[in-house]
Symmetry: C2
Subunit: 342 residues, 2 copies
């Protein structure tokens, strides 16, 4: 059992024969405290190695000054960068951040969101798991007036603030780029059907095609299964090849999938970009490491984090009452995997 034989305000109050309140005030430089008393108190605090007890503070103030963050996975560059953005602004505003992973599991997501609720976070920022369809565990927050901001992956059936990137536009841009590069038979490797991003990117893909008068071919819309990992891309690409389908360009829902695709293509001696151009989404660090370097849509991850916490703090501070939906744009970073002029 951990023991805290910490010095408390009472301890130093007794020692100095003053009251708790005086100590409390002196420690926060309250103006109405005598110079000598304050000094004496602060000195003794230092000597006793006093550290404020945040738990007690939170209980009495009914505010923990912490905000909760739930992400599907920490081990994705995208998410950890978003978190950095969140932390940066949070710390500046005197907030702590509790980070949790849902591990892409609905069940886990429910558990951590309840834990966070019980921990009385002042607000929540979340990107939902791949499995999540029910949002009751988030609606509890609303019923208790704890503000929520979703980023990237949102719950469709909730009226809350959100920060997303324009998936439709991003996909459109990517496909348009491929078309302008002279590609005509463009496949799309899609993500798990439940995710909104999957839908939006498919739409952008289709609309770009039709905008350029290219008929949509169902065979070129490839399902990568339930995962967004490299293996899913690899396998889906191999299946495609096995089925005798050979596009001249591929737009993948995300970089790992794109890279899986590239690996399979290369293994099958398909030249990139000469035979097949590839474009990913997210611009993870690996995009610059694969060969050829992968064209991708840059998601402003840090900015997404900053924006999320900004919206959240606005709500916490009562400035915003109506949910605000911010949409950022993803910019296409063209690299060798999709440019014919190599």
């Amino acid at each position: 059992m951990t023991e805290y034989k910490d010095a408390t305000m009472l301890d130093i109050a007794r020692e100095l024969k003053v009251s708790k309140s005086t100590v409390s005030r002196a420690l926060k430089d309250h103006p109405s405290i005598g110079k000598k008393t304050r000094q004496a108190i602060q000195d003794l605090a230092k000597k006793y190695n006093y550290h404020p007890n945040n738990i007690a503070y939170s209980l009495s103030k009914k505010s923990t000054k912490t905000i909760g963050v739930i992400v599907p996975m920490l081990s994705h560059y995208y998410f950890s960068t978003v978190i950095s953005g969140i932390e940066e602004l949070a710390y500046k505003s005197g907030y702590k951040v509790i980070i949790c992973q849902s591990a892409e599991s609905y069940e886990r997501e429910v558990i951590v969101s309840q834990a966070l609720l019980s921990s009385k976070v002042d607000g929540l920022i979340v990107s939902i798991s791949r499995e999540t369809v029910n949002s009751d565990h988030f609606k509890v927050y609303q019923s208790k007036n704890v503000p929520i901001v979703f980023f990237d992956r949102v719950c469709a059936d909730m009226e809350v603030s959100s920060v997303t990137i324009d998936d439709y536009q991003g996909a459109f841009t990517a496909v348009e780029h491929l078309i302008r590069e002279g590609r005509r038979k463009i496949a799309h490797f899609a993500g798990p059907p439940l995710l909104q991003i999957t839908q939006k990117r498919i739409e952008g893909y289709k609309d770009a095609l039709s905008a350029y008068g290219i008929p949509f071919d169902e065979n070129l819309l490839i399902d990568c299964g339930s995962g967004l990992e490299q293996e899913n891309g690899s396998m889906a690409a191999q299946e495609m090849l096995d089925r005798g389908i050979k596009p001249d360009a591929i737009f993948a829902i995300c970089d790992p999938i794109a890279i899986g695709v590239m690996v399979t293509l290369k293994r099958n001696h398909v030249n990139i970009p000469d035979e097949v151009a590839v474009v990913g989404f997210c611009d993870e660090p690996i995009a610059r490491v694969v060969e050829p370097q992968l064209s991708s849509l840059v998601q402003p991850a840090f900015k997404i984090g900053e924006t999320s916490i900004e919206l959240l703090l606005n709500q916490i501070n009562g400035q915003d009452h109506i949910p605000e939906k911010r949409v950022l744009t993803a910019e296409l970073q063209i690299r060798d995997s999709s440019s014919s002029t190599i």
Copy 2:
């Protein structure tokens, strides 16, 4: 101002005309509560959408059931994987985990470690920042009897539990492998001098050389500056080349550096592995994506996390009193970047 018009135990106690204590007991299935009372209480709790207030719980129990984790960066696969290992076991044991980044900054590390102290974490797991030389902020924990476990990067001047991998052995193995592949002029790209891992790996490097009768050449011990990023490796490699030094193998302190080196080598039309073999350390996902695929030492990140939390919980539960130092071994994963039989 966030408002919690939450139902509390008192609310449901009043409604049912019983006492707070009874509610408290009923909610935790305390045996000494009548079946009907318990049922009634639990039903009403559900109806009121009651959620326990962890803050109050923590204050009265003097234990938060949370453990703090401080890592230099979240956006490294290695660290986020360690965290997953920590979380897994922590959750199973009923502990929450608060994750913080020091962002490789000493100042930030001090701040977050104090914040965590004030938040009354029951224990701390940390991998120190690159800048950290002073460990006073951790010694406070010891003085307050809050157990600490270091992993990977430890404070040399503290008597605490730690989980590390055998850097010396890993480095030795890597270099030995290169020697057996017929390499003789083996360079080592070292890390920031302050880090213990830098020292240990250099030792392993040197000892492997001497074990095989290869004299140590100072010119082949390359300093990569203060960073462990790809750019540092790239630049250091270019400098080396510019100075006319051309080894036939390179052992890099970590994968990003190794990859930076590879990029530079390829840019200078140096063939890998024919002219120069390369081995990294850490086995990050990119190792399998670069071309040729990078040989690397696999750090059992998940296991490191599990072991850390295990040691910590032992201390929290009072089972361990003397610090325990666990050393795990890194295994060499040989890939194309260092095997001549390609």
